[in-house]
């Protein structure tokens, strides 16, 4: 159930990405305040807006993050594109053991207010696989397709 909720929220977040068109400095107090409470040390913040969502790109610990808020100031999720060496060690060793010979085409961390997960897309000559981890210890298949 938790995995399903994560998948639905993630799909929403990724789908609304396409709708963000214009940078804005006109961020509502509610959203700005929610952001500042959640990310107290955020730097270099830039905002975009659609009819229903705000997107904040910022730096935290020198890492670039993207946070998504509703217009009511509710945090929907945060995405952090990352390197495989930043993954928890069990996830790194599991990739090496089970998917040796695949290369990584996308890797990001997806955090909601109460849970944290990782999504990785790997491929070889024949197929593309997206794996997800919600416990930081093991991968499960999110999607798989032939090339």
């Amino acid at each position: 159930m938790k995995k399903l909720i994560t998948a639905v929220v993630l799909s929403t977040v990724l789908l609304v990405n396409a709708a963000f068109a214009n940078k804005t400095d006109n961020v509502s107090y509610k959203v700005e305040n929610a952001f500042r409470q959640e990310f107290t040390q955020a730097k270099d913040v830039t905002w975009d807006k659609t009819d229903n969502f705000y997107r904040a790109a910022f730096k935290m610990n020198n890492e670039v993050m993207t946070a998504y808020f509703t217009t009511d100031g509710q945090l929907m999720g945060v995405i952090h594109n990352m390197l495989s060496t930043q993954l928890p060690i069990n996830l790194q060793t599991s990739l090496k053991k089970e998917y040796d010979g695949y290369w990584i085409s996308e890797l990001f961390e997806f955090a909601r207010p109460d849970s944290n997960g990782y999504f990785i897309t790997i491929q070889n000559a024949d197929q593309v696989i997206t794996l997800q981890s919600s416990d930081g210890s093991s991968w499960s298949t999110f999607s798989k397709s032939k090339k």
Partner: protein
């Protein structure tokens, strides 16, 4: 109850070895070495230590250019891995929670402890009141593991 006590003792021993060196150089049996190979393929130059906790071996090695310690029972059961990491390697919820809850503290060191069934972070901080080790789950739940360290 006995199992829980053993698990707590073991966690303390593993963390103790992460914070300070504990144990003596000692080669384990075939079962442990095979378990290591199954868990960490393509790893060479392993340094083995028999820990002070009876029947537990520590393997120190390099993986993806990082130094790791992995722990096994003498029966070859894999217990977990520790590594020292930086703030930028923390999950988002842990990094943001740390900045919210310990804004005035200075981070001294961070250890990731990966077990088969989960992941925890042990963060040593100095505050105006002294040093403290806090434990954080990957979902950003914090608790004090040890305080008033000297």
């Amino acid at each position: 109850m006995k199992k829980i006590f053993f698990s707590l003792t073991l966690t303390a021993a593993i963390l103790s070895s992460a914070f300070t060196y504990a144990g003596t150089n000692s080669e384990p049996g075939t079962k442990v070495k095979q378990a290591f190979i199954n868990e960490f393929t393509q790893v060479k130059d392993v340094e083995w230590t028999s820990m002070n906790t009876e029947g537990v071996y520590q393997a120190k090695f390099t993986f993806n250019n990082e130094t790791l310690q992995a722990f096994f029972t003498e029966e070859g059961e894999f217990l977990g891995t520790t590594r020292q990491i930086t703030k930028s390697q923390l999950p988002i919820l842990v990094a943001s929670g740390l900045e919210k809850q310990y804004a005035d503290a200075r981070v001294i060191s961070i250890f990731e402890y990966s077990k088969k069934d989960g992941l925890d972070y042990y963060i040593t901080l100095t505050t105006a009141k002294g040093a403290v080790i806090v434990k954080a789950s990957a979902n950003g739940e914090f608790s004090v593991y040890k305080k008033n360290l000297k």
